[in-house]
């Protein structure tokens, strides 16, 4: 049965000690969508994100990628299955160059082992060349190929964000999960980010987005889901959500 939804999340709950961070959250993301998760601070967005990307395993519930249940798998398995992510507080390999960072992203799509590394047989040389070529492509795709040999930690903040996206794209994801990609960006950066995201979507990658910048979210996403205190309180197109009384209350009550 060909699943129409790329990601189907159903009934996810997660507790930390006595605190329940997520309660019975369900939603689905269709292929080629840009889908956003929003909610006030502490609503459980990042927790949900971490469950989907395999950092946490859910206490109950399941989620399927392409019809295959993934709940509780390790993060590396998620990446392999096609979910790639970025981090809210950038987590690059800071003492590696930009190029090397992206090359690491190819790890799960390549296979050379110890033998290939030592003896450099024809297939491993070819693979290594392909990794580098792909990584360079991605760097230019996000627009930072001039910094290819710079250490990640010496890049500017905006470039670090772009590098993180390039690294995530290197894993050939079906679903690209971005945790507040616009955080700390100025207006023009945000604009170019929007253009980049549109292009990524056009190239066939589904995007899941957590974002604080409501303007950006509303402008770019096809549908979104609103969380508050670990519960889903609304879901729909930006227009539907904007007029939802529960959402208005959550945001107003919070601010």
């Amino acid at each position: 049965m060909p699943a129409t939804d790329l990601l189907l999340v159903s009934g996810i709950s997660k507790h930390f000690g006595g605190l329940s961070a997520l309660t019975d959250v369900s939603f689905s993301i269709g292929r080629g969508e840009i889908y956003a998760l929003i909610g006030p601070n502490g609503a459980g967005k990042t927790t949900l994100f971490n469950v989907i990307t395999g950092i946490y395993s859910p206490d109950s519930g399941s989620f399927c990628l392409n019809g295959q249940n993934m709940a509780g798998r390790k993060a590396s398995a998620m990446a392999k299955a096609g979910i790639a992510r970025t981090f809210q507080n950038i987590r690059l390999f800071s003492n590696m160059t930009a190029l090397e960072n992206v090359m690491v992203g190819r790890h799960s799509r390549t296979r050379a082992g110890v033998f290939g590394a030592i003896f450099r047989n024809a297939s491993s040389i070819r693979e290594e060349q392909q990794i580098a070529a792909r990584a360079r492509d991605l760097l230019s795709y996000v627009g930072i190929s001039r910094h290819e040999h710079m250490l990640a930690r010496n890049l500017s903040y905006g470039d670090q964000r772009r590098l993180e996206i390039a690294r995530a794209l290197a894993t050939d994801p079906m679903l690209l999960a971005l945790d507040e990609p616009a955080a700390g960006m100025n207006h023009s950066d945000t604009d170019s980010l929007r253009i980049l995201l549109e292009r990524i979507r056009m190239d066939g990658v589904t995007i899941l987005l957590i974002e604080h910048d409501v303007k950006l979210v509303m402008g770019i996403c096809d549908r979104l889901c609103v969380l508050n205190f670990g519960h889903k309180i609304a879901e729909g197109t930006p227009e539907e959500v904007r007029s939802n009384p529960a959402v208005i209350e959550a945001y107003l009550g919070n601010s």
């Binding site: 993060a75 090359m103 690491v104 050379a112 693979e127 040999h149």
Partner: protein, 358 residues
């Protein structure tokens, strides 16, 4: 300078080294260099674990011990077995590698200093077993160790036989150890510049991000332990054949700490730096034996007993080096590469869709 010429000069230097050393300082120093080569292999092995993968291992000497005892037990009168060197050398690496996986597995969830203390514990556990497995059945010879180990024999030629009076046994071992060290350095460097090496460094830099990028951190860490351990095993088998005697005293915690000092002092993660660190720290304590004669020569009198201040000076040098070169004496040249890259990439700046937004 041309790469070929440089390579030739280095090779010539390495070949001439034992003869020059012998001529200038005596045969002791050739022996010290032999040991320095063994330590270089150890440091390169530990460098994979600590320098590349960032896993602080304080029990690394255990793998050295595994290799040494493997050779000692299978090529000595202890069990009456005299297996050939060409079989035992790879076997030593293999068995040590298996031990690496075995000891690495329970530590995978541990971080930083917790990992350090557990690996330290494993190192001690191995030593204690070696020290006590002489009863009820005599397996390791206990604290008495294993003696009369067969000298390394290649193609019927025993390395213990001097080729001539001016080409003594320590030269034979020098060339063998040099060959294996070059091999180990070569393998290290190939691994570093590969998909595996990048995965190790990624884990060192940020384990969670590495996992999220599709690296199975468990397997990659175990691979680091195994590769590092197998270098230790190689060095151990060579040590046993060279010394002819092994006992648990050679595999103490202090030894692990010294190897770690070599890696850090030389420049973690940088192969040449690590070898430099190993050579420096094997030579320094021996060189400091001469502080007595140095005092005699300068002041005409020995003020401080060399045996007392030798280790004191060693301690001071560790502190000073770290204070002035915290990244090691010869850190990885990544910074230099980075600076050079600036000019290069400035020339063909790329315009992309991202920049188009500006």
């Amino acid at each position: 300078m041309n790469r070929g010429i440089r390579l030739f000069l280095v090779a010539a230097g390495l070949i001439a080294l034992p003869f020059l050393t012998d001529f200038a300082f005596g045969r002791t120093w050739v022996r010290i260099i032999d040991f320095a080569l063994l330590y270089s292999m150890l440091a390169l092995g530990l460098n994979i674990v600590v320098g590349f993968a960032g896993l602080l291992d304080l029990g690394y000497v255990a793998f050295f011990a595994v290799g040494a005892y493997l050779y000692a037990l299978l090529a000595s009168p202890h069990f009456g077995l005299h297996l050939p060197f060409w079989l035992l050398l790879p076997l030593g690496a293999l068995v040590a590698g298996l031990f690496g996986i075995l000891l690495g597995a329970p530590t995978l969830r541990l971080r930083g200093d917790y990992l350090a203390i557990v690996t330290l514990g494993f190192g001690e556990i191995i030593r204690i077993f070696l020290n006590n497995l002489n009863a009820p059945y005599d397996i390791t010879g206990g604290p008495q160790g294993v003696n009369l180990i067969d000298p390394i024999t290649i193609g019927g030629f025993s390395l213990n036989h001097p080729l001539s009076s001016s080409f003594p046994a320590v030269y034979n071992y020098y060339f063998l150890f040099l060959a294996v060290t070059i091999l180990v350095a070569f393998v290290s460097s190939r691994l570093q510049n590969s998909r595996i090496g990048r995965a190790w460094v990624a884990i060192r830099e940020d384990e969670i991000a590495a996992e999220a990028m599709g690296i199975n951190t468990r397997n990659v860490k175990l691979l680091a332990f195994a590769m590092g351990a197998s270098f230790g095993g190689l060095s151990g088998t060579l040590f046993a054949g060279f010394e002819g005697f092994v006992s648990p005293e050679s595999f103490t915690l202090m030894e692990s700490i010294m190897i770690l000092c070599m890696v850090v002092l030389g420049g973690m993660g940088h192969i040449r730096g690590v070898i430099f660190g190993a050579i420096l720290l094997s030579i320094l304590p021996e060189a400091l034996r001469y502080v007595g004669s140095l005092q005699q020569a300068i002041f005409g009198h020995v003020y401080a007993d060399p045996s007392s201040i030798r280790m004191l000076l060693f301690g001071i040098s560790l502190i000073l080096v770290m204070l002035f070169r915290p990244a090691g004496l010869w850190p990885s040249p990544v910074r230099r590469r980075e600076l050079a890259a600036h000019d290069e990439t400035a020339r063909h700046e790329n315009s992309s869709i991202y920049d188009a937004g500006h």
